[in-house]
Protein backbone atom coordinates (compact mmCIF):
# COMPACT_ATOMS: atom_id res chain seq x y z
CA UNK A 1 0.00 0.00 0.00
CA UNK A 2 2.78 2.44 0.98
CA UNK A 3 4.67 1.51 -2.17
CA UNK A 4 1.56 2.15 -4.23
CA UNK A 5 1.17 5.64 -2.77
CA UNK A 6 4.80 6.47 -3.46
CA UNK A 7 3.85 6.88 -7.12
CA UNK A 8 2.68 10.47 -7.78
CA UNK A 9 0.03 9.31 -10.27
CA UNK A 10 -1.49 7.03 -7.60
CA UNK A 11 -1.42 9.83 -5.08
CA UNK A 12 -3.38 11.99 -7.52
CA UNK A 13 -5.75 9.14 -8.33
CA UNK A 14 -6.51 8.59 -4.63
CA UNK A 15 -7.09 12.28 -3.91
CA UNK A 16 -9.43 12.58 -6.90
CA UNK A 17 -11.13 9.26 -6.19
CA UNK A 18 -11.87 10.01 -2.53
CA UNK A 19 -13.19 13.45 -3.42
CA UNK A 20 -15.50 12.00 -6.06
CA UNK A 21 -16.65 9.19 -3.74
CA UNK A 22 -17.93 11.70 -1.17
CA UNK A 23 -19.54 14.02 -3.73
CA UNK A 24 -21.15 11.29 -5.85
CA UNK A 25 -22.62 9.35 -2.93
CA UNK A 26 -23.95 12.48 -1.21
CA UNK A 27 -25.61 13.94 -4.30
CA UNK A 28 -26.67 10.45 -5.41
CA UNK A 29 -28.73 10.03 -2.22
CA UNK A 30 -31.10 12.78 -3.33
CA UNK A 31 -31.66 11.47 -6.85
CA UNK A 32 -32.12 7.87 -5.68
CA UNK A 33 -34.81 8.94 -3.19
CA UNK A 34 -36.56 10.94 -5.89
CA UNK A 35 -36.51 7.86 -8.17
CA UNK A 36 -34.45 9.87 -10.60
CA UNK A 37 -31.42 7.57 -10.67
CA UNK A 38 -31.24 7.51 -14.45
CA UNK A 39 -30.28 11.21 -14.38
CA UNK A 40 -26.69 10.35 -13.46
CA UNK A 41 -26.45 7.78 -16.27
CA UNK A 42 -27.94 10.23 -18.77
CA UNK A 43 -25.67 13.13 -17.82
CA UNK A 44 -22.67 10.80 -17.98
CA UNK A 45 -23.55 9.96 -21.58
CA UNK A 46 -24.10 13.64 -22.34
CA UNK A 47 -20.67 14.46 -20.94
CA UNK A 48 -19.24 11.99 -23.46
CA UNK A 49 -20.43 14.40 -26.17
CA UNK A 50 -18.35 17.11 -24.50
CA UNK A 51 -15.34 14.81 -24.29
CA UNK A 52 -15.58 13.85 -27.96
CA UNK A 53 -15.99 17.49 -29.06
CA UNK A 54 -13.00 18.40 -26.88
CA UNK A 55 -10.88 15.68 -28.44
CA UNK A 56 -12.06 16.70 -31.93
CA UNK A 57 -11.33 20.43 -31.66
CA UNK A 58 -8.40 20.24 -29.25
CA UNK A 59 -10.10 21.88 -26.24
CA UNK A 60 -9.98 20.47 -22.70
CA UNK A 61 -12.29 17.41 -22.71
CA UNK A 62 -12.94 17.96 -18.98
CA UNK A 63 -14.18 21.53 -19.46
CA UNK A 64 -16.22 20.53 -22.48
CA UNK A 65 -17.79 17.73 -20.44
CA UNK A 66 -18.69 20.20 -17.69
CA UNK A 67 -20.28 22.58 -20.22
CA UNK A 68 -22.35 19.98 -22.08
CA UNK A 69 -23.60 18.15 -19.00
CA UNK A 70 -24.57 21.44 -17.32
CA UNK A 71 -26.51 22.57 -20.40
CA UNK A 72 -28.25 19.18 -20.66
CA UNK A 73 -29.07 19.14 -16.93
CA UNK A 74 -30.80 22.52 -17.16
CA UNK A 75 -32.72 21.52 -20.30
CA UNK A 76 -33.84 18.22 -18.71
CA UNK A 77 -35.01 19.98 -15.55
CA UNK A 78 -36.82 22.64 -17.58
CA UNK A 79 -38.63 20.01 -19.67
CA UNK A 80 -39.52 18.01 -16.54
CA UNK A 81 -40.78 20.88 -14.41
CA UNK A 82 -42.23 23.29 -16.95
CA UNK A 83 -43.32 21.26 -19.96
CA UNK A 84 -44.94 18.41 -18.07
CA UNK A 85 -42.99 15.64 -19.83
CA UNK A 86 -42.39 12.33 -18.05
CA UNK A 87 -38.98 12.29 -16.35
CA UNK A 88 -38.01 8.79 -17.47
CA UNK A 89 -38.96 9.53 -21.10
CA UNK A 90 -36.88 12.73 -21.18
CA UNK A 91 -33.91 10.89 -19.68
CA UNK A 92 -34.22 8.04 -22.19
CA UNK A 93 -34.28 10.52 -25.08
CA UNK A 94 -31.23 12.42 -23.81
CA UNK A 95 -29.35 9.23 -22.98
CA UNK A 96 -29.67 7.58 -26.40
CA UNK A 97 -29.55 10.90 -28.29
CA UNK A 98 -26.32 12.03 -26.67
CA UNK A 99 -24.68 8.63 -27.12
CA UNK A 100 -25.60 8.70 -30.82
CA UNK A 101 -24.19 12.21 -31.16
CA UNK A 102 -20.97 11.24 -29.35
CA UNK A 103 -20.49 8.20 -31.61
CA UNK A 104 -21.00 10.31 -34.76
CA UNK A 105 -18.47 12.92 -33.55
CA UNK A 106 -15.96 10.20 -32.61
CA UNK A 107 -16.41 8.52 -36.00
CA UNK A 108 -15.91 11.81 -37.83
CA UNK A 109 -12.76 12.57 -35.89
CA UNK A 110 -11.40 9.03 -36.13
CA UNK A 111 -10.26 9.39 -32.54
CA UNK A 112 -11.42 6.13 -31.01
CA UNK A 113 -8.10 5.55 -29.27
CA UNK A 114 -6.60 4.92 -25.85
CA UNK A 115 -7.41 8.46 -24.75
CA UNK A 116 -11.13 7.97 -25.40
CA UNK A 117 -11.01 4.51 -23.78
CA UNK A 118 -9.79 6.11 -20.56
CA UNK A 119 -12.72 8.58 -20.62
CA UNK A 120 -15.17 5.73 -21.11
CA UNK A 121 -13.93 3.44 -18.34
CA UNK A 122 -11.62 5.60 -16.19
CA UNK A 123 -7.89 5.40 -15.72
CA UNK A 124 -5.64 5.95 -12.72
CA UNK A 125 -2.94 7.24 -15.04
CA UNK A 126 -5.03 10.04 -16.51
CA UNK A 127 -5.42 12.41 -13.52
CA UNK A 128 -3.14 15.41 -13.94
CA UNK A 129 -2.29 18.14 -11.43
CA UNK A 130 -4.49 20.53 -13.42
CA UNK A 131 -7.39 18.07 -13.15
CA UNK A 132 -6.88 17.94 -9.39
CA UNK A 133 -7.04 21.72 -9.14
CA UNK A 134 -10.23 21.83 -11.24
CA UNK A 135 -11.75 19.05 -9.14
CA UNK A 136 -10.72 20.82 -5.95
CA UNK A 137 -12.39 24.10 -6.94
CA UNK A 138 -15.63 22.69 -8.34
CA UNK A 139 -15.74 19.85 -5.83
CA UNK A 140 -15.48 22.22 -2.86
CA UNK A 141 -18.16 24.48 -4.30
CA UNK A 142 -20.50 21.53 -4.93
CA UNK A 143 -19.84 20.13 -1.46
CA UNK A 144 -20.53 23.49 0.18
CA UNK A 145 -23.86 23.81 -1.64
CA UNK A 146 -24.89 20.24 -0.80
CA UNK A 147 -24.15 20.79 2.90
CA UNK A 148 -25.81 24.23 2.99
CA UNK A 149 -29.01 22.96 1.38
CA UNK A 150 -28.91 19.44 2.77
CA UNK A 151 -32.13 19.75 4.78
CA UNK A 152 -34.03 21.52 1.98
CA UNK A 153 -33.01 18.89 -0.62
CA UNK A 154 -34.02 16.16 1.81
CA UNK A 155 -37.47 17.70 2.29
CA UNK A 156 -37.94 18.00 -1.49
CA UNK A 157 -36.90 14.36 -1.95
CA UNK A 158 -39.48 13.31 0.63
CA UNK A 159 -42.39 15.49 -0.48
CA UNK A 160 -41.80 18.08 -3.19
CA UNK A 161 -45.31 19.53 -3.04
CA UNK A 162 -45.39 20.11 0.73
CA UNK A 163 -41.83 21.46 0.58
CA UNK A 164 -43.09 24.03 -1.93
CA UNK A 165 -46.09 25.00 0.21
CA UNK A 166 -43.81 25.42 3.25
CA UNK A 167 -42.05 28.27 1.46
CA UNK A 168 -38.95 26.54 0.09
CA UNK A 169 -37.79 27.69 -3.35
CA UNK A 170 -38.15 24.25 -4.87
CA UNK A 171 -37.64 25.16 -8.53
CA UNK A 172 -34.38 26.95 -7.79
CA UNK A 173 -33.15 24.13 -5.54
CA UNK A 174 -34.00 21.53 -8.20
CA UNK A 175 -31.95 23.42 -10.79
CA UNK A 176 -29.11 23.71 -8.28
CA UNK A 177 -29.15 19.97 -7.57
CA UNK A 178 -29.05 18.93 -11.24
CA UNK A 179 -26.26 21.45 -11.85
CA UNK A 180 -24.20 20.00 -9.01
CA UNK A 181 -24.77 16.49 -10.31
CA UNK A 182 -23.77 17.55 -13.82
CA UNK A 183 -20.51 19.04 -12.52
CA UNK A 184 -19.70 16.04 -10.32
CA UNK A 185 -20.26 13.65 -13.22
CA UNK A 186 -18.04 15.67 -15.53
CA UNK A 187 -15.31 15.77 -12.86
CA UNK A 188 -15.56 12.03 -12.26
CA UNK A 189 -14.97 10.80 -15.76
CA UNK A 190 -11.15 10.76 -15.39
CA UNK A 191 -11.31 8.22 -12.58
CA UNK A 192 -14.54 6.30 -13.06
CA UNK A 193 -15.33 6.92 -16.72
CA UNK A 194 -18.53 8.14 -18.38
CA UNK A 195 -20.06 4.69 -18.69
CA UNK A 196 -19.62 3.79 -15.02
CA UNK A 197 -20.06 6.98 -12.96
CA UNK A 198 -23.80 6.36 -12.61
CA UNK A 199 -23.01 3.34 -10.44
CA UNK A 200 -20.94 5.43 -7.99
CA UNK A 201 -23.90 7.76 -7.52
CA UNK A 202 -26.63 5.16 -7.26
CA UNK A 203 -25.24 1.97 -5.65
CA UNK A 204 -23.92 3.46 -2.35
CA UNK A 205 -27.26 5.07 -1.31
CA UNK A 206 -29.27 2.07 -2.50
CA UNK A 207 -27.05 -0.28 -0.46
CA UNK A 208 -27.15 2.05 2.58
CA UNK A 209 -30.97 2.30 2.48
CA UNK A 210 -31.11 -1.49 2.99
CA UNK A 211 -29.89 -0.98 6.58
CA UNK A 212 -33.13 0.83 7.55
CA UNK A 213 -31.79 3.96 9.25
CA UNK A 214 -32.74 7.62 9.21
CA UNK A 215 -31.56 9.88 6.40
CA UNK A 216 -28.50 11.38 8.12
CA UNK A 217 -27.06 7.99 9.09
CA UNK A 218 -27.98 6.52 5.69
CA UNK A 219 -26.06 9.32 3.97
CA UNK A 220 -22.98 8.75 6.15
CA UNK A 221 -23.09 5.00 5.45
CA UNK A 222 -23.53 5.69 1.74
CA UNK A 223 -20.37 7.84 1.78
CA UNK A 224 -18.47 5.14 3.67
CA UNK A 225 -19.48 2.53 1.08
CA UNK A 226 -18.35 4.79 -1.76
CA UNK A 227 -15.01 5.56 -0.05
CA UNK A 228 -14.26 1.89 0.67
CA UNK A 229 -15.11 0.91 -2.92
CA UNK A 230 -12.88 3.63 -4.36
CA UNK A 231 -9.92 2.64 -2.14
CA UNK A 232 -10.25 -1.08 -2.97
CA UNK A 233 -11.05 -0.41 -6.64
CA UNK A 234 -8.05 1.88 -7.19
CA UNK A 235 -5.79 -0.61 -5.42
CA UNK A 236 -7.04 -3.45 -7.64
CA UNK A 237 -6.57 -1.22 -10.65
CA UNK A 238 -2.93 -0.59 -9.63
CA UNK A 239 -2.00 -4.19 -8.80
CA UNK A 240 -3.84 -5.93 -11.67
CA UNK A 241 -3.70 -3.20 -14.36
CA UNK A 242 -7.51 -2.96 -14.55
CA UNK A 243 -9.54 0.06 -15.69
CA UNK A 244 -10.18 1.93 -12.42
CA UNK A 245 -13.87 2.63 -13.10
CA UNK A 246 -14.69 -1.03 -13.67
CA UNK A 247 -12.77 -2.11 -10.56
CA UNK A 248 -14.59 0.47 -8.40
CA UNK A 249 -18.01 -0.52 -9.74
CA UNK A 250 -17.34 -4.22 -9.11
CA UNK A 251 -16.45 -3.39 -5.48
CA UNK A 252 -19.70 -1.39 -5.18
CA UNK A 253 -21.64 -4.34 -6.56
CA UNK A 254 -19.99 -6.64 -4.02
CA UNK A 255 -21.03 -4.36 -1.15
CA UNK A 256 -24.54 -4.02 -2.57
CA UNK A 257 -24.94 -7.83 -2.71
CA UNK A 258 -23.64 -8.04 0.86
CA UNK A 259 -26.19 -5.42 1.95
CA UNK A 260 -28.96 -7.41 0.25
CA UNK A 261 -27.89 -10.62 1.99
CA UNK A 262 -27.54 -8.97 5.40
CA UNK A 263 -30.95 -7.26 5.14
Amino acid sequence: MIEMLSYPFMERAFIAGLMIAVLASLSGSFIVLRRYSLLSETLAHVSLVGVSVGLLVGLSPLWMAVATSLAAAWLIEYLRSSRGLYSDSILAIFLSGSLALAIVIISLSGSFNASLFSYLFGSILSVSNDDLITMGIFGSLSMALLILFFKELYFIAFDEEVARTSGLRVTLLNFMLVSIIAVIIALSIRIVGTLLIGALMVIPPVAAIRFGMGFFKTTLLSMAIALISVVIGLSLSFFFSLPSGAAIVLCLLGIFILALVLN
Binding site: K151, V162, T165, I209, M213
Partner: protein, 251 residues
Protein backbone atom coordinates in the same frame (compact mmCIF):
# COMPACT_ATOMS: atom_id res chain seq x y z
CA UNK B 1 -60.98 49.23 16.44
CA UNK B 2 -58.63 47.09 14.34
CA UNK B 3 -59.85 43.91 12.67
CA UNK B 4 -57.59 40.92 12.02
CA UNK B 5 -57.29 40.36 8.26
CA UNK B 6 -59.11 37.36 6.84
CA UNK B 7 -57.08 34.17 6.35
CA UNK B 8 -58.18 33.75 2.77
CA UNK B 9 -59.82 36.34 0.60
CA UNK B 10 -60.70 34.98 -2.83
CA UNK B 11 -62.27 37.21 -5.48
CA UNK B 12 -63.73 36.21 -8.88
CA UNK B 13 -61.45 33.22 -9.24
CA UNK B 14 -61.41 31.28 -12.51
CA UNK B 15 -59.23 28.29 -13.30
CA UNK B 16 -59.01 26.63 -16.69
CA UNK B 17 -56.88 23.60 -17.54
CA UNK B 18 -56.33 22.61 -21.19
CA UNK B 19 -59.46 24.45 -22.26
CA UNK B 20 -61.65 22.93 -19.53
CA UNK B 21 -63.15 25.27 -16.98
CA UNK B 22 -62.42 23.65 -13.60
CA UNK B 23 -63.50 26.53 -11.35
CA UNK B 24 -65.46 29.67 -12.17
CA UNK B 25 -66.47 32.83 -10.35
CA UNK B 26 -65.29 31.65 -6.93
CA UNK B 27 -65.55 34.35 -4.27
CA UNK B 28 -65.31 33.81 -0.54
CA UNK B 29 -63.61 35.00 2.62
CA UNK B 30 -62.52 32.91 5.58
CA UNK B 31 -62.01 34.83 8.83
CA UNK B 32 -59.56 33.68 11.54
CA UNK B 33 -60.69 30.94 13.89
CA UNK B 34 -63.08 29.24 11.48
CA UNK B 35 -63.46 25.50 10.95
CA UNK B 36 -64.64 25.05 7.38
CA UNK B 37 -65.48 21.89 5.52
CA UNK B 38 -65.09 21.77 1.76
CA UNK B 39 -67.37 19.23 0.16
CA UNK B 40 -68.47 18.41 -3.36
CA UNK B 41 -68.50 15.61 -5.93
CA UNK B 42 -65.28 14.01 -7.20
CA UNK B 43 -63.82 16.14 -9.97
CA UNK B 44 -65.77 19.16 -8.75
CA UNK B 45 -62.57 21.17 -8.09
CA UNK B 46 -62.09 20.89 -4.31
CA UNK B 47 -58.43 19.90 -4.43
CA UNK B 48 -57.79 22.40 -7.24
CA UNK B 49 -59.21 25.17 -5.04
CA UNK B 50 -56.83 24.17 -2.22
CA UNK B 51 -53.89 24.03 -4.64
CA UNK B 52 -54.77 27.53 -5.86
CA UNK B 53 -54.85 28.83 -2.28
CA UNK B 54 -51.43 27.28 -1.63
CA UNK B 55 -49.90 28.68 -4.82
CA UNK B 56 -49.38 25.24 -6.37
CA UNK B 57 -51.55 26.30 -9.33
CA UNK B 58 -51.89 29.71 -10.94
CA UNK B 59 -55.42 31.08 -11.41
CA UNK B 60 -56.56 31.93 -14.93
CA UNK B 61 -58.05 35.11 -13.48
CA UNK B 62 -59.13 36.52 -10.14
CA UNK B 63 -57.24 37.34 -6.96
CA UNK B 64 -56.22 35.49 -3.82
CA UNK B 65 -55.04 37.19 -0.63
CA UNK B 66 -53.52 35.33 2.31
CA UNK B 67 -53.59 37.02 5.73
CA UNK B 68 -54.35 40.29 3.98
CA UNK B 69 -51.40 40.04 1.59
CA UNK B 70 -51.73 39.36 -2.17
CA UNK B 71 -50.58 35.79 -2.81
CA UNK B 72 -47.70 36.87 -5.11
CA UNK B 73 -46.18 38.87 -2.23
CA UNK B 74 -46.98 36.41 0.54
CA UNK B 75 -43.85 34.88 2.13
CA UNK B 76 -45.01 33.68 5.57
CA UNK B 77 -45.97 30.20 4.36
CA UNK B 78 -45.15 28.75 7.78
CA UNK B 79 -48.44 30.30 8.98
CA UNK B 80 -50.23 27.70 6.85
CA UNK B 81 -49.93 23.97 7.61
CA UNK B 82 -50.82 21.58 4.79
CA UNK B 83 -51.65 17.89 4.97
CA UNK B 84 -52.17 16.67 1.40
CA UNK B 85 -54.37 13.90 0.06
CA UNK B 86 -52.88 10.41 0.49
CA UNK B 87 -50.16 11.81 2.71
CA UNK B 88 -50.23 8.61 4.77
CA UNK B 89 -49.14 6.59 1.72
CA UNK B 90 -45.37 6.77 2.13
CA UNK B 91 -42.68 4.78 0.33
CA UNK B 92 -42.00 1.96 2.82
CA UNK B 93 -38.22 2.03 2.29
CA UNK B 94 -37.72 5.81 2.52
CA UNK B 95 -34.92 6.43 5.04
CA UNK B 96 -36.65 8.89 7.35
CA UNK B 97 -37.35 8.63 11.06
CA UNK B 98 -40.53 10.07 12.53
CA UNK B 99 -38.62 12.94 14.11
CA UNK B 100 -36.83 13.76 10.84
CA UNK B 101 -40.19 14.03 9.06
CA UNK B 102 -41.77 16.21 11.76
CA UNK B 103 -38.67 18.45 11.78
CA UNK B 104 -39.19 19.17 8.05
CA UNK B 105 -42.04 21.48 9.02
CA UNK B 106 -39.46 23.83 10.58
CA UNK B 107 -36.96 23.86 7.68
CA UNK B 108 -38.31 26.96 5.93
CA UNK B 109 -38.12 28.87 9.23
CA UNK B 110 -34.52 27.87 9.95
CA UNK B 111 -33.01 29.63 6.94
CA UNK B 112 -29.79 28.92 5.08
CA UNK B 113 -27.26 28.45 7.85
CA UNK B 114 -29.81 27.65 10.54
CA UNK B 115 -29.14 24.79 12.88
CA UNK B 116 -31.98 23.44 14.98
CA UNK B 117 -32.65 26.06 17.67
CA UNK B 118 -34.16 25.50 21.11
CA UNK B 119 -37.42 26.88 19.71
CA UNK B 120 -37.30 24.38 16.82
CA UNK B 121 -36.72 21.50 19.24
CA UNK B 122 -39.56 22.67 21.44
CA UNK B 123 -42.00 23.06 18.51
CA UNK B 124 -41.11 19.61 17.16
CA UNK B 125 -41.52 17.98 20.58
CA UNK B 126 -44.80 19.82 21.14
CA UNK B 127 -46.25 18.72 17.77
CA UNK B 128 -45.18 15.11 18.39
CA UNK B 129 -46.67 15.13 21.86
CA UNK B 130 -49.92 16.63 20.63
CA UNK B 131 -50.20 13.86 18.03
CA UNK B 132 -49.19 11.17 20.51
CA UNK B 133 -46.17 10.02 18.53
CA UNK B 134 -43.32 10.98 20.89
CA UNK B 135 -42.57 7.32 21.57
CA UNK B 136 -42.19 6.67 17.81
CA UNK B 137 -39.48 9.31 17.41
CA UNK B 138 -36.73 7.01 16.10
CA UNK B 139 -38.95 4.63 14.15
CA UNK B 140 -38.78 4.69 10.34
CA UNK B 141 -41.84 6.31 8.78
CA UNK B 142 -42.26 3.38 6.38
CA UNK B 143 -42.57 0.95 9.30
CA UNK B 144 -45.66 2.64 10.77
CA UNK B 145 -49.35 1.90 10.27
CA UNK B 146 -51.51 4.18 8.07
CA UNK B 147 -53.00 5.91 11.12
CA UNK B 148 -49.58 6.52 12.69
CA UNK B 149 -48.21 7.93 9.43
CA UNK B 150 -51.18 10.24 9.19
CA UNK B 151 -50.42 11.57 12.67
CA UNK B 152 -46.78 12.11 11.70
CA UNK B 153 -47.83 14.16 8.66
CA UNK B 154 -50.15 16.30 10.75
CA UNK B 155 -47.39 16.76 13.34
CA UNK B 156 -45.10 17.95 10.51
CA UNK B 157 -47.76 20.50 9.48
CA UNK B 158 -48.18 21.62 13.11
CA UNK B 159 -44.47 21.92 13.89
CA UNK B 160 -44.32 25.33 12.19
CA UNK B 161 -47.07 26.43 14.63
CA UNK B 162 -49.44 27.41 11.82
CA UNK B 163 -52.48 29.63 12.26
CA UNK B 164 -54.44 27.65 9.71
CA UNK B 165 -54.37 23.96 8.85
CA UNK B 166 -55.44 22.80 5.40
CA UNK B 167 -56.30 19.12 5.27
CA UNK B 168 -57.20 17.36 2.02
CA UNK B 169 -59.10 14.08 2.50
CA UNK B 170 -56.39 12.65 4.75
CA UNK B 171 -58.14 9.42 5.69
CA UNK B 172 -57.11 7.30 2.70
CA UNK B 173 -55.63 4.04 4.01
CA UNK B 174 -56.47 4.90 7.62
CA UNK B 175 -58.53 2.72 9.96
CA UNK B 176 -61.81 3.88 11.51
CA UNK B 177 -60.37 4.33 15.02
CA UNK B 178 -57.61 6.59 13.69
CA UNK B 179 -60.17 8.57 11.68
CA UNK B 180 -62.17 9.10 14.87
CA UNK B 181 -59.06 10.29 16.73
CA UNK B 182 -58.28 12.56 13.81
CA UNK B 183 -61.66 14.32 13.97
CA UNK B 184 -61.22 14.74 17.74
CA UNK B 185 -57.84 16.30 17.15
CA UNK B 186 -59.15 18.80 14.59
CA UNK B 187 -61.86 19.84 17.05
CA UNK B 188 -59.24 20.22 19.80
CA UNK B 189 -56.93 22.29 17.59
CA UNK B 190 -59.74 24.60 16.56
CA UNK B 191 -61.33 25.06 19.97
CA UNK B 192 -58.38 25.12 22.34
CA UNK B 193 -55.43 26.14 20.15
CA UNK B 194 -57.40 28.57 17.95
CA UNK B 195 -56.06 26.95 14.78
CA UNK B 196 -58.33 27.65 11.82
CA UNK B 197 -59.13 24.60 9.73
CA UNK B 198 -59.98 24.09 6.09
CA UNK B 199 -60.90 20.47 5.63
CA UNK B 200 -61.82 18.65 2.40
CA UNK B 201 -63.98 15.71 3.33
CA UNK B 202 -66.74 13.40 2.15
CA UNK B 203 -67.63 12.58 5.74
CA UNK B 204 -69.38 15.83 6.62
CA UNK B 205 -71.95 14.18 8.93
CA UNK B 206 -69.26 13.25 11.44
CA UNK B 207 -67.99 16.80 11.83
CA UNK B 208 -71.29 18.67 11.40
CA UNK B 209 -71.31 19.70 15.07
CA UNK B 210 -67.76 21.09 14.89
CA UNK B 211 -67.74 23.12 11.70
CA UNK B 212 -68.79 26.72 11.29
CA UNK B 213 -69.26 26.74 7.56
CA UNK B 214 -69.51 24.47 4.55
CA UNK B 215 -68.06 25.35 1.16
CA UNK B 216 -69.73 23.24 -1.50
CA UNK B 217 -67.52 23.18 -4.60
CA UNK B 218 -68.72 21.90 -7.95
CA UNK B 219 -67.08 24.20 -10.50
CA UNK B 220 -68.78 27.09 -8.70
CA UNK B 221 -69.03 27.72 -4.99
CA UNK B 222 -71.98 27.59 -2.64
CA UNK B 223 -71.53 28.73 0.94
CA UNK B 224 -73.60 27.55 3.86
CA UNK B 225 -73.48 28.76 7.45
CA UNK B 226 -75.67 25.89 8.54
CA UNK B 227 -73.95 22.51 8.15
CA UNK B 228 -76.87 20.52 9.56
CA UNK B 229 -79.22 21.93 6.98
CA UNK B 230 -76.73 21.17 4.25
CA UNK B 231 -76.46 17.45 4.99
CA UNK B 232 -80.20 16.88 4.66
CA UNK B 233 -80.78 14.30 1.90
CA UNK B 234 -82.83 16.55 -0.35
CA UNK B 235 -80.29 19.36 -0.11
CA UNK B 236 -77.37 17.00 -0.84
CA UNK B 237 -79.28 15.47 -3.78
CA UNK B 238 -79.86 18.92 -5.21
CA UNK B 239 -76.18 19.86 -4.86
CA UNK B 240 -74.65 16.61 -6.07
CA UNK B 241 -77.12 16.40 -8.93
CA UNK B 242 -78.30 12.83 -8.23
CA UNK B 243 -80.29 11.10 -5.45
CA UNK B 244 -78.09 11.09 -2.33
CA UNK B 245 -78.54 9.51 1.06
CA UNK B 246 -76.83 10.65 4.21
CA UNK B 247 -75.48 7.59 6.01
CA UNK B 248 -75.28 7.94 9.80
CA UNK B 249 -72.53 6.05 11.56
CA UNK B 250 -71.49 5.95 15.16
CA UNK B 251 -68.27 7.90 15.35
Amino acid sequence: MKFAPSLFDVRNLFFTRQGNEILKLITFTIPPGEYCAIIGPNGGGKTTLIRLLLGLEKPSSGTISLFGTPQAKFRAWHRIGYVPQRSALVDASFPATVREVVAMGRYALRGLFGFESAEDKEAIAEAMELMGISDLSNRLIGHLSGGQRQRVMIARALSSRPEVLIVDEPNTGVDIESQHRFYELLRHLNRTKSVSILFITHDIGVIADDIHRVLFVNQTLLLSQNPHEMIRCDEMSRLYGNPSHVVCHNH
